[in-house]
Structures are given as C-alpha cells and as structure tokens.
Symmetry: C2
Subunit: 579 residues, 2 copies
C-alpha cells in the first residue's frame, strides 16, 4: 500500500502532535500540515513568559526540549511531514475529499485531496464590543505576532502604564508579566466582583486579588469598560470605566477569553454543539467519520457535570493529538473528557484547580458545600514551610468530590496536591476517599495527616453536622461590613495573638484560649451568635465541640481562621472602610 494521505489544517499544537504520532505508527502515511501563519508548532501558553522576559525569544517557544527549532524544514527532515505555511484552507469538499487552498504569498489556488482530514484550527481571542477596541495600542496576546509587537513596544520604553481588560488567567499572567520585570504601572479591570471569576472560589480569589495588589497591580473589580479613546492631550489611550473612572495608558491588553475557529468546518456541514465548538465522538471524529478534530476548536464532555464544555488547554490539545494520531493509524484510542484541571502562577503564588468551583456547582444544580482548610506543606516541625490554602467542593447528598482548588507560595506543592485529586476525579471519589488518600509521607514533603486528608476530614465533619463552617467572605460581611450586633467573634488563640483584635474590635472580639475553655465556660456569651476563630480553623473546631457539650450551639467556625482572613486582606479592607 502506498500509504494514506492525511491533511491537517492547523500547525500549532494538536496538528504537529497528530502528525508525529501517526508517522511513528505508520511511516508510509503521507502527512501534510497546512497553516495560514508563518509560525508553527509553538508553545502559546509561554507567551506571557516571553513578554515578561523570562523566556528570551520566540525561538525558545518554537524549539524542542533538545533546542531544535521546529521549522517546516525540521518537520520535513526529521519527521517526514510536509508543512505548508502561509497557506489558507478556504473550503472543504467532503464529496470529493479535498481541501481548497490559497497560497497567501502568491494568491495561487489549489485542491489538495485527502483520505483523512484533521481540523486543528484552534481559537481566536474574543474582542469585546467596546468602542475604540480597534485603536492602535489595543491588542490581545494570543498569537506570536501580537506578542512580539507588545514586547517591542515595551522594550523600547514606550509603555509606562497599561490596562488589562479581563481578570481571568491570561489577564492575571499578563499583570505579572508587565509589572514584575518591566515595572509598568498596571491596571487590571474585571467586570465581576473577583479575579479568576467562575473558575476560582471567592475565598481563594480574594487571596489572589490581595497578592496582586501587594505586588503593585491596581485591581478594579466590578467595573465595565465602556470606551477606549485616544488621549489627544497627553498621547496614548484613555480607558473609560463604569462605575466612572478614567485610566490613562499606552497599552491596553484584552483578555476576554477565546472562541473556537469553526467557520471552515461549519461551511462544510460539520456539526457544532451548544458551546459553538465542533462536536466529536470519543475517537475524536467529527460528524464526518473521515474528519477528525481536536484542540481549541472542539467541545468535550466535562466529567463532573456531564455537559459539553469548551476548555481550550495546550495540555489537552497534545493528548488529543496523540489520540487522533493513533486512530488515524487504525487504533481505537479514546478521549473521555476533562475534569477541568488548570494551574497558574501569579507573582509569588501558585494556584491550581481541578473539577468545578462552588459557583459552577451551584449553576449546574448541585447542592454543594465549600470546605476551606489551611495547613503547612510539610510537617509542622520541619524548618522551612509554606501554608497551603486548600478548598474542596463537595456534593452534600452523595458526599462526592466535585472539585478542589489550592494556592500557596510553594506552587509545586500546591499543584501536586491538586493533581492527586485531579487523577481521582474521573473515578467519582467521595470525602472518605480524600480522607484516606495516601499522600507519600515524610516530614520534608508532607504532613502525617496531609492538607489533602485534613480537607477530607473537615468535609466529613461538616457533612456529619459536627462542624458548622463560615466562609471568610461571610465573616467579613457579618463582622466588618454589616457590623451585625448579634454576632460576636470568639477568638480561641493565645492572648498575644488575640490582643490586637480585641483592641480593635472591643467587646465584639472576645478572647478565651481553647486550652482554658473548659474551665472558663461561664465567661462565654450565650445570647449572641458566636463566630469561632483560631489561626487555621482547627482549634476553633475543637472549641465548637466543647461548646456543644455545654449546650452552646449558636456557633460557626470561621474556615481557614485568621490565616485565611489576613491573607485575603479582610482586616486591611476593614481598616479602609472605617477611615
């Protein structure tokens, strides 16, 4: 047999992966990759690090791990894969099994026949419908051309101030890229009331926001951009917000998500789903079994909600590329879906997540509990350590784990914990599975009862009614914003820790150390709702059990304790509001 001809439209992540896997399995296959761009096979997720300067050149993003540039010539010589750049696929003729091409340099048209076709057309950044969005100086950063233009602008000293529209993952990464190495005064504008909206629990998002602010980023939450205009007096641009504020900047970066590039496939009659992306089966075939699709242009099943989602991730594109390569060679590999894992570095914080957040759980009709624990990443007696803020989302009725999120200064330790949950999620674990999850223990790398296990135990205690939790945000509302007179904080830490709070809050902050509580039970106010607080939520849980024994049940345990409250800037904001 002469070898089947496989045409792949798109050469960034999935396309090359598919081509290489297929050629290893079936060396006789004739494989052609088409791409309208001149750049192919690059790590798009590295763009923020290229802009920051952590990655020196775009060549680094286009190289193999052994420093070989993945050019069309490389693919030809090393992989026996033909790559045609600056070539656009304008139509797919499924009857004739050919793709119509235009050479963007010469304008020449051509029909390229295929036995199998792979659609790897990726995604395009959303351009929010804002007046002025097309002005020079306003850009997204999802492809190398835009990234190079932005870096040129920055490195030639033309940018003192920048506005980022959208506080999602790319927005937060870009805030670090601009602020950390270049020292650009950066404003991050987000229409929702938190950064990383929809994907991070509010308790953790508050910590990220506070950290961004500590690093000098001006975070504007709950603000909509209504217009971008030229600043005729000072030069540059003015970004107008509502509630009213005007931000002057030379550079405006939009990070409002991406949408799948499906026009070509739709024109050929291939089916798209509720998310607008292409529908594929487990083998990653489209509605035409001769045509496969993967990467940022398809929708995939979410393994927690069971619904299709559009979840563009370079990691998934790579895995799907391998699966398509296997199946093109006659295999039967399957892609079953996503649990939604992701991670992000925001300055000195590592953030990781898997499954769904409490908000996404609510939107999908789950009756879910959110559990927050704070614990060191190592044995508490080990000399160096960092706290991990760990959140679990649990379905009440079934005790099923719906998601987990964490953050902390030791990003590897944070990501490692989340990965231990991520791998488990397809198997529908319960809180008991998390309580007994067998983290590899030794004092330098874990606690004997690791933060993951502690989260499982706490979830179990909450579901069993032993622990009545209160979220840090709820605490802030109750004690600081509403200043609810029916609420009183009972701080069960030692006097030295509690003193500044007693001084600030007066009669509304009572200190009885937990180790003296049994003896001082008659000092506990019985006519108020008690918000129990310690450093992390452990001793306050113990206090709740002690109070319960004495019939004092109008209590809530503040999750994550003072560690979480401080880290999310609750008391600093309290200061501002009382100014």
């Amino acid at each position: 047999m002469g070898g089947k001809r496989v045409v792949i439209i798109g050469g960034v992540a999935l396309g090359p992966k598919t081509a290489c896997r297929l050629k290893r399995l079936e060396p006789d296959a004739e494989v052609v990759i088409i791409d309208q761009d001149e750049y192919i096979s690059y790590g798009g997720c590295g763009i923020p690090y290229f802009i920051s300067g952590d990655v020196n050149s775009v060549q680094d993003l286009m190289s193999t791990s052994f420093h070989m540039l993945r050019t069309p010539q490389f693919f030809q010589d090393v992989k026996d894969v033909k790559v045609r750049v600056r070539t656009r696929a304008t139509a797919i003729d499924r009857e004739k099994r050919c793709v119509h091409l235009v050479d963007l340099a010469t304008g020449a048209e051509e029909e390229l026949p295929y036995d199998r076709l792979v659609i790897a057309t990726g995604s395009t950044p959303n351009r929010p419908p804002i007046p002025g969005i097309d002005l020079p100086g306003v850009t997204s950063v999802t492809n190398l051309h835009a990234a190079m233009a932005v870096k040129d602008m920055i490195s030639s000293g033309k940018v003192d101030r920048a506005v980022i529209i959208g506080g999602g993952a790319i927005g937060c990464e870009m805030a670090e890229a601009l602020g950390d190495l270049w020292g650009i005064e950066t404003h991050l504008v987000e229409v929702e009331e938190q950064v990383l909206p929809g994907i991070l629990a509010p308790s953790l998002a508050g910590i990220v926001r506070t950290h961004l602010e500590e690093k000098g980023v001006h975070v504007r939450l709950g603000r909509r951009v209504v217009q971008i205009r030229k600043d005729d007096e000072e030069g540059g641009l003015v970004v107008e917000l509502k509630p009213e504020e005007s931000l002057h900047a030379q550079l405006v970066i939009t990070s409002a998500g991406v949408r799948p590039n499906v026009e070509l496939a739709k024109s050929a009659g291939l089916a798209t789903g509720p998310t607008g992306a292409l529908i594929v089966n487990e083998m990653l075939q489209t509605s035409d079994p001769r045509i496969f699709a993967g990467g940022d242009c398809i929708e995939i099943p979410h393994l927690i909600t069971g619904k299709p989602v559009f979840f563009p991730q370079g990691s998934l594109a790579n895995r799907q590329g391998r699966i398509i390569g296997t199946n093109l060679a006659g295999g039967a590999a399957k892609f079953k879906g996503t649990v939604g894992s992701f991670s992000i570095k925001v300055f000195d914080l590592g953030v990781a997540s898997t499954g769904i957040s409490p908000q996404t759980a609510a939107k999908n009709g789950f009756d879910a509990e959110s559990v927050l624990v704070v614990q060191a990443d190592r044995a508490h007696f080990y000399p160096t350590q960092d706290l991990i803020y760990f959140q679990l989302t649990v379905e009440r009725k079934t005790r099923r784990i719906l998601g987990a999120q964490a953050l902390g200064a030791n990003g590897d330790a944070v990501a490692g914990r989340i990965n231990s949950i991520a791998s488990l999620l397809p198997f529908h674990p319960t809180v008991e599975d998390i309580s007994n999850l067998e983290i590899a223990y030794s004092p330098p790398f874990a606690s004997a009862l690791d933060v993951v296990n502690a989260a499982g135990n706490t979830a179990e205690n909450i579901l069993d009614g032993l622990n009545r939790p209160m979220d840090p945000a709820e605490f802030e509302k109750c004690l600081l914003i509403d200043q609810d007179e029916e609420c009183l904080c009972l701080d069960v830490r030692g006097p030295a820790n509690a003193a500044p709070f007693v001084e600030r809050f007066g009669a509304r902050w009572v200190n009885i150390p937990q180790e003296t509580l049994n003896k001082r039970m008659d000092e506990v106010p019985r006519n108020k709702r008690l918000l129990l607080v310690c450093n992390s939520g452990v001793r306050s849980y113990e206090a709740m059990r002690q109070l319960e024994r004495e019939g004092i049940t109008n209590t809530k345990n503040v999750q994550g304790g003072v560690a979480a409250l401080k880290k999310s800037g609750v008391f600093d904001r309290g200061n501002e509001s009382s100014d």
Copy 2:
C-alpha cells in the same frame, strides 16, 4: 449514660489521635492513655531532622502546629484525656475486661477496667544478630531517648566517623543527618547490591547511591557486618565487614527495620498474621471485637498485591487513629489498606514512591515491565527547571499500573507526581489512565505533556511493541562490564554531545544525529545489536521507529538516555573499572 471507658495502650501517634477524635465525637467518654515512656505524642519521623539540627529540640517534635507542648497536662486540660506515663501494661484480662498495670516509678500494680481497649504499642527496632551489637556507641535511633543520646554525643564533638548499618530509608536519612550538618565521615553499609533495597527500582537506586557518594557518604553495597568490636588502641569501635573491610568509628547506628510490639496482645490470645503483626478487620478490630489496634503493631492489606503487609508509617497511624476514634463512638469507618506510598529526602534529592517496585512485582508473581522516563518538571522553555526521573511498573497482560517511583532535585514536584498516581492506585488504573491523567497545566508547574503522561505513553508504546526498552543497569552491563562485542551504541544526539563518548568508546560508539538518520541510513551497522541512546530516550525512540521502517529491528532503546546513565554514575564507574 455515664460514658464508656476506653483504655489506650501506647501514646505516641495512633493513641493520642484515637483519643482526641473520640472525645470530639463523644465528649462523655472516659479516655485513658497508658505509656511506659515519659515522652508521648511526638513525631518520630522527625528524629533524623532533630539529629541533623534542622529541628532544634525534642520539644519541637512534641508540640502542636500552634507551638503547644503535648504533655499529659495538655491532654488533661485541653482534650479531657487522662495520660499515665511511666506506666506499663503487663497483661490484658479479656474475661474481666481489664488491663494489669505497673507504675514504673513506684512498682505499684493495678487493674484498670475497660469497655473498649485500643492497642497502640508500636514497634521496636530490629537488632541484627551481630557480635558486639550491644557495645556502647552502637544504637538505633527510633525513640527520643536514643536520639537525644546520639545528638549529645555528636554535639559534644565525640564523633569523627560513623557507620550506619542498613541502607533503607532511616539509614539514608541518617547519612544525610550526620554528614550534611555535622561533617561526620559516614559509612553506609548495606548487604544488598543497592540502597533502599526492595523498595526502589535499581535504576533509581543507582542515582541515590551516586548522589550519596557525591555528598561524601562512603557507600558499601553487598557487604555484611560480621562483627563490631572495641578498638583497644585508638578507642572507639571497629566494624568488620565481609567482603573484608574494617571501618573505624565512634558511633554505629543500626537501621535494620522494625518489628511490631505484639507480645502483650499475643499473651491475651489476640491473633497475629503471617507478618507477625496483629490481624485487624476493616474497622480495625482485633480478633476480640472489643479490642481495636492500629499503627506500627498491625498488618494491613496491600491494595496492589492483595496480601497482608507490615508497613509502619506515621501517616497511616494517624489515619487509623481517626478511624478507631470514629468507630469507638459508634461509627463505621473503614481502613481498606495501603498502596505503599512513601517519600524520603536524601540530601538534595527528593524520592517518592507508591505501589510496588519491579522486584516486589516479580516476587509476587506479576509479569511486569519497568518503564523509565526523564523529563523536566516544567515546560521546557520555562527558565528554571529540574529533571524528574520517573519509573512506572506495569503488568504486561492487564496493562495495570502496579507502582510508580520518581526522584529529582525538586522534591515537591517529584512527590506531587507520585501522589497523583498514589490516589489512583486503589482504582486499578491502566496505562491509558496515566496517559490521560489530567495534570494541572501551566508552564511554571508542568509540561503540556507532563512527565506522568509521558510515562504512560512510553509504557503503552512498550506494551504495544513499538518501543523495546533497555534499563540503564542492563546497558552498563552490556557496554561497560561485559564489553559485549555484539553490542554497539548508536548515539542519535548532536555531534557536540556525542564527541566525548565517541572518543572514549571508539568504534563501539557510533554517532548519527536523529535528524540526519533518514539520509544516513546506509551508515547504520546492520550486523550488530544496536543500543540506541539520546539525552532522555525520546529521540532514540523516534530513531527506533525510523530504523524499523528500514528493516533494522535488532535495536534497544536505552531508557532515560544519557541523563539517566550519567546521573546513576554509570560512566564514572566505567572509568574506575578501566583503571
């Protein structure tokens, strides 16, 4: 009800955990902990860090995470748990439901009745039957008294040289403790041919051994200690080995494992199993349902082999303590077994493992394949990164994952990867589950195709016959030890990398870079067995596929490539042997 009386024999890890959990659930319960020692509730796993000086004082090992010393008084005041130290349980009368006690200070005897009894008697270090093992200066380090004595001896400058007998986990940790901070000339003697025998795959154990040697530890493998004697001339001790060698030292530490303390329970007629430890059911009840047991004195099911194992780990003791506490309060919590996770820091290397090693797999009758991959812990373009050496053990017929082990300079990243497998193992994952395991991706914390996924993919390729692997140790034997003339190394890296090897090995080391291989196919020797080598095993796999296409099939792919060979000191040992 007046509250049941629960007596707990043993107050280090499981005992206190059980007591505290029970009291939170059932405050009326009367709980008494008996311990023959004066020290209770300490982190025994921290002893090597106390000896090294990383942990300043034993108090740190006996404190809570909020710096409160866990004394008997603490348990009384804070937990309402009575602790009786320096009190030995001499017999259990199951008929009368009471424990016979002796007060070790006064000699007074007593009978203490119980409704439920918990056996938490822990373990005792093995004393190898070596003449001289009882000499002063020979000690184990598994309890605080011994640890303090060792630290006193070291810190008063009495130890220049030390011998550690046993290259297991404690032996390796002690080698670091003595060498790193105290600068003691340390000899590590192990009867097997590798460090961490039985628990770490030889390919990884070779890397640990080389690292120990780089750090100045004198590693003596395949040597048995035949005698320890006083050195009458110079003072101190002499440790006599076979094959013959005499090591002079002032301190000899034995780390030959531990055995369960079951005499008391056995005398009372409670059943022990094939490992010699107590048999318990999933509720952690012994053969007498009124008596529970947990921690270092029980055997538990191994979830991979299905057989009972004795696996003393502080982390498991804590989890079992919580389960017993729950069940004493009328709950029905279950402990299903262990997947055998552990981790260890050896100087600058983090090592973690879960499931079973290739040797344990073979011993248990599995037909298993060992897979080794080497890859960075982050995106390859990210500026800082460390390699992870990752090993999978896979059952050939079922494609089931039996175990995973890894090591690298970034211990948190290493442990995180292993934890992602550990959590999955009870669910009987296959290689396909590992290929698709959804590691939380972003360039600072993972690769798009992470090392875990790469290991799954490589395992799949090996099981499918696409990749024929050769272990680094096998390579060493073939090329360096046996100097097999039928074998030839085909190095597919660039000429600059290959040159020193071509120079050293002459005609037995041929260099054809992989990107030129298709064009230079006629230069490939066809009458030899080809050992394909690149930096990590990726390009050499690609070369294997290319050669296959040309009918050259007498090839093996050296797993982990030159990265693994160098790291395990293969070429250095090669130098020695050619001296």
